[in-house]
């Protein structure tokens, strides 16, 4: 009962934080290009504006699927983001383990993909096929990373892994060579998961006119955008708390009860997000789908398999 209440409180918190983080991301992106950039609360303006626009459902779309899919996507990714945040606030496992979190976060790209293909637009179909390819490319290494973590600590419960770091007083990524490889593979998978620029072929604006999003407008687009920024936030938060839980290093100063640990974790998440999403997005150009696929099956997959092998050996 108590956990359900905490989860419900976390919903608006996650909503605000993910939009705020997106705003900071856009600001840093602009500053790196020597621009002034939009105000930090720009995503809030966008969201409110999109919700006050006309709803248009294209004639070619199968309207039932087209309209429900954005709601499921937004709900799933906000829930996926809330579970880790709520677990840290409550200090216990809330709502489910790592597998559930990862699958909630996978629902949102799949839903957007289905929405795009149900719109009846050929660009939506191209977006569908590209997103499917990318899903196969990054999902496998990512799950193997999680497998490696669970082999190492014989646990799939999210909060147990966070506690492990507090117990050993170090970041998981620095604790063992196997975990370092897993963290590297996880970090490399993040830009593809969130579809930021070097790997955004499925939503390439200048190439296939936003792919799956092409027919979405008004409130539906707002929900899809919200789902995207919530899963950006969720993934960075997940990566930080699983592999780089900095409060573990400064445990003496940040007792978990006072919320200081949570704050430090959020700050780390922000810095982490800037380095894994904003910086690559600014300095790289879009890859081709073949190149991205090859990259994912060469580097992160190898790293994650090495990591599993090392953790089986007990390193």
């Amino acid at each position: 009962m108590n956990t359900v209440i905490i989860l419900l409180i976390t919903f608006p918190l996650v909503f605000l934080l993910s939009l705020l983080f997106e705003g900071i991301d856009r600001k840093v992106h602009a500053r790196m290009q020597k621009r002034i950039g939009p105000p930090i609360i720009q995503p809030f303006y966008d969201f409110v504006k999109l919700f006050n626009k006309e709803r248009i459902i294209p004639m070619t779309a199968s309207s039932r699927i087209f309209t429900t899919v954005p709601i499921i996507a937004a709900a799933a990714s906000i829930l996926g983001a809330s579970i880790p945040v709520a677990s840290l606030i409550a200090g216990s496992n809330v709502g489910g383990d790592l597998i559930i979190i990862l699958y909630l976060l996978t629902i949102s790209p799949i839903m957007v993909m289905i929405g795009g293909s149900s719109s009846g637009n050929p660009y939506g179909a191209v977006g569908f096929s590209r997103k499917m390819t990318m899903l196969i490319a990054y999902e496998v290494p990512m799950l193997i990373c999680i497998l490696s973590v669970s082999v190492n600590y014989t646990s799939l419960a999210y909060y147990d892994i966070v506690l492990t770091q507090v117990k050993i007083g170090s970041l998981l990524a620095l604790a063992r060579p196997s975990m370092a490889a897993a963290a590297a593979a996880f970090v490399l998978c993040m830009p593809a998961y969130t579809e930021t620029v070097p790997f955004d072929m499925s939503e390439a604006k200048t190439e296939i006119v936003h792919g799956s999003l092409v027919e979405y407008g008004g409130p539906y687009l707002g929900l899809v955008k919200l789902a995207k920024s919530a899963s950006n936030f969720a993934l960075s938060f997940l990566a930080v708390s699983l592999f780089f839980y900095t409060p573990a290093l400064l445990e003496r100063y940040f007792s978990p009860e006072l919320g200081g640990a949570m704050l430090l974790c959020l700050v780390t998440t922000l810095i982490f997000m800037v380095f894994t999403m904003t910086v690559p997005r600014t300095i790289f150009a879009r890859l081709k789908i073949g190149q991205a696929f090859k990259f994912y099956w060469l580097v992160p997959l190898t790293l994650s398999i090495i990591s599993v092998a090392l953790s089986i050996l007990g390193l």
């Binding site: 966008d46 409110v48 504006k49 626009k53 006309e54 006119v209 936003h210 092409v214 407008g217």
Partner: protein, 139 residues
Amino acid sequence: MKIAARSRIKSPWLFHLNTGSCAGCDIEIVATLTPRYDVERLGCILVGSPRHADVLLVTGPVTRQMLPRFIRVYEQVPEPKVVVAVGVCAISGSPFVGSQMIEGPPDKIVPVDVYVAGCPPRPEAIVNGIVTALKKKFG
């Protein structure tokens, strides 16, 4: 309701439609989006699909081929929307006036909110045009 109006002013997403211009105006619109003029500080993004747009930037006199497509793109932009006619061509048809291939100018076909004069207009003028249009419509 005030918040809605404010967010509309703060987040205009642009869609750019060439209805048969010489591409001079289009290049100036692209220049407006570069880091030097940085319209993103006003919340503007160039979007690729009319379904996402709030502001329709029209360049060129409407040619006969373009007429049905122009109307269709205009219909695809969800309400509330703003139309900005960029360049003299989109105001009067300037060098093409009297041609039998011209169905425009655009304000004969759809309601236009703001006209930005110039052949082509400078990026500052285009930014000013967008801001004026938003103020006029929602302010």
